[in-house]
């Protein structure tokens, strides 16, 4: 019998092998492993894990069903709270959410809630189990802008309540960051993302791709001419930031968004797809978040030697521990406490290196993290032919600038009530990264859920 203080280990692809392919790293649990892990849960009466989950899944209940081998019941329990369990089970930072609150985690390792959720969702998909649609339609129309995690969740919840929901998506494929941002090796596109989007569609949600709100049609037109009674804005934070250092426009410098979009959405890594991607030999990824890890591990799989360049230390890396661990296993090299000051360009306009300066940590700044300070005279050159900037993103001002009466704050984020998603404009709700700035998939889902409730109350209250 396994050690009850430890998680049942999860099978993974060998680091040396996976560094050369885009197949999923983690294989997930099988039935026996899932039931064994579920048996570790002590089913707390006042379960802390539930409060750690932004969409409050009834975790002890679904785990109880897994323990007994009732996987379909487990799936229906999760579905009451989450529209995208196969995705969340894979990409949520469980260590700081549900698993971070697990009582088992005090003395040993917490229950592997994420891996169990993933197992249940994968099992349901493989066995053709779908979420239950609304018994009847209520005759009200709602428009959802953006098909990322916030939009899909909001649309799914409203559809279950009987609303006729249309999602408008600017790109040619639904999913938002799930499709263009998070790579195949963490989140398989056809198997998982497309399947979960099909589940949302099976609830009756219509998805119109290739429609850019603010350009193809405005929010005011949706409300006044197209017959929608409410609009949810889940347009995310997709505008990349650059550093503003010399050489940044040289050939071979990309935003992580561009690099990942080419590879994930346009499938540039595949021979049979037309979109090209630059195959660097020595690649520097600037930044320390999940997106930086994704870009670095993608470049590695495309055949490069890869460095992460981050201005703070290991402890401050904002990426998930699991992803940093995976990146190191695969051979990504970390240049910590180090910041670029200039990108060096050759005569043909291509990157030939990056000048960096070493940093040390000073006093904590407004964000509570210790502020990195340059060490004078510590400049050095890193020989690279490709630089990927992964410094974060901010909301695209397209929607806010074309919608009359929609307030934004200093950071271009839409101002919305946390409980209901209500914005400064009647009938218009918002949530996810468009409101908070770049955050996590599950927080966006939580905001989508809250707004669905807010929209339901708004429309029902009008009568």
């Amino acid at each position: 019998m396994a050690d009850v203080l430890k998680k049942v280990p999860v099978r993974e692809q060998d680091p040396k092998v996976r560094a050369t392919n885009f197949e999923e790293v983690c294989y997930g649990y099988n039935k026996e492993e899932a039931m064994e892990e579920a048996a570790r849960c002590i089913h707390c009466k006042n379960a802390k894990c539930v409060s750690g989950c932004p969409v409050n899944i009834d975790i002890p209940e679904f785990i109880k069903e897994v323990k007994e081998g009732n996987f379909e019941e487990a799936y229906q329990t999760i579905s009451k709270s989450s529209a995208l369990p196969a995705i969340c089970g894979r990409v949520c930072p469980q260590e700081s959410q549900c698993e971070g609150k697990c009582i088992r985690g005090i003395k040993g390792e917490p229950i592997s809630i994420g891996k169990l959720e993933r197992f249940v969702a994968d099992w349901a998909r493989e066995n053709g189990i779908k979420p239950t649609p609304a018994a009847e339609m209520n005759g009200h129309k709602v428009a959802v802008i953006g098909s990322g995690p916030a939009g899909l969740t909001c649309a799914g919840d409203l559809a279950k309540l009987g609303y006729e929901v249309t999602i408008f998506e600017a790109l040619h494929k639904a999913g938002g960051v799930l499709s263009y941002g998070i790579p195949e090796f963490r989140l398989p596109k056809d198997k998982v993302v497309a399947a979960e989007i099909e589940n949302v569609k099976s609830l009756g949600v219509k998805i119109e791709t290739n429609v850019i709100i603010g350009k193809s049609v405005t929010i005011d037109e949706l409300l006044q001419e197209e017959g929608f009674e409410a609009v949810f804005i889940g347009s995310g934070a997709g505008l990349p930031m650059f550093m503003g250092i010399p050489g940044e426009n040289a050939n071979g410098v990309f935003s992580a968004n561009e690099y990942l979009t080419r590879n994930n959405l346009m499938k540039a890594f595949r021979e049979d797809y037309m979109t090209p991607i630059h195959h660097g030999q020595k690649v520097a990824v600037v930044g320390g978040g999940n997106v930086a890890m994704d870009a670095a591990r993608t470049a590695l799989r495309l055949g490069a030697e890869v460095y992460i360049v981050y201005r703070r230390g290991e402890e401050e890396l904002p990426a998930r521990k699991e992803e940093v661990h995976h990146a190191k296993e695969e051979g990504i090299q970390f240049h910590l406490l180090c910041n670029p000051t200039e990108i060096l360009v050759d005569d043909n306009g291509w990157v030939k290196g990056m000048r960096c300066i070493r940093m040390e940590l000073g006093e904590p700044d407004a964000s509570g993290r210790r502020r990195p300070v340059e060490i004078p005279g510590s400049e050095f050159e890193l020989e690279v032919d490709t630089v990927i900037m992964s410094l974060g993103t901010s909301p695209n001002p397209l929607i806010s600038s074309t919608t009359i009466g929609l307030d934004t704050n200093r950071r271009k984020c839409i101002v919305a009530d946390e409980e209901t998603g209500q914005t400064s404009k009647e009938g218009v709700f918002a949530g996810g990264d468009a409101v908070t700035g770049a955050a996590t998939v599950i927080l966006a889902m939580g905001a989508g859920k809250a707004a669905a409730k807010g929209i339901h109350e708004f429309i029902m209250g009008k009568k």
Partner: protein
Amino acid sequence: MYKILNADKLAANIYRMVVEAPWVAKHCQPGQFIIAKMNEEGERIPLTICDYDREAGIITIVFQPVGASTMEMAELQTGDAFEDFVGPLGQPSEFVHEDLEELKKKRILFVAGGVGTAPVYPQVKWLHERGIQADAIIGAKTKDLVILEDEFKAVCNLYVTTDDGSYQRKGMVTQAIKDLTAEGKQYDICVAIGPMIMMKFVCQLTKELGIPTIVSMNPIMVDGTGMCGACRLNVGGEVKFACVDGPEFDGHLVDFDLAMERQKMYKTEEGRALLKLQEGDTHHGGCGHCGGDK
């Protein structure tokens, strides 16, 4: 799917397609563009809107095959369809927002080069519909490559110039600008659209002549909505994204040399894709990159 209602050839290597795209047709303005994608494996290709009909819900695009994707696109026939077709993207031409009475006082010169003739058309047409007759220069390499001549004649004062002198005036568009101004023509603004090298030389000249000049930039794009920065340019020392801030900019502020370097970024990849397309199953490593017969 976005149906192609009509596909025809305007010149040896220039194709025109009328596409059913109601969302785009509803709101597009002169100066804006679309992104088309042929099929699942296809690239997203940015193309400037050449004409539109709001009631019919249709958009006309004109393009010149330059790589594997556009060559494949040229094969599409009337009745075929694009899997994806999205827009309108980018900012409309500035004059769309200007006071009409003020605009009427302006003497406007359009300079079109090659396939760049197409995006100039909706601009002169828009002005003509509001009673403003602009001058336009169409430049082409040779007689057979002059496109949309009749369409232009109907909506502006047209001057055609061919590099080899096989039709109308002889020489580059810059020569025509010099000639027209030497003949006593005066302009308050110039709008130049064509290959980057042409726009660069037009801007050098108009700077000397003191004519403010707008150019429409055509850098590499992916999404076209501002989320990646592939299309970034240096305009007056600032980084701009052509897809959301442009594509039209003050030509006297654009760093053309940088823009032209960036345009070449995928040259080898493009060449490889082109060879693969042309040689098909007979491709045995002639591109020098693919490692030969796989």
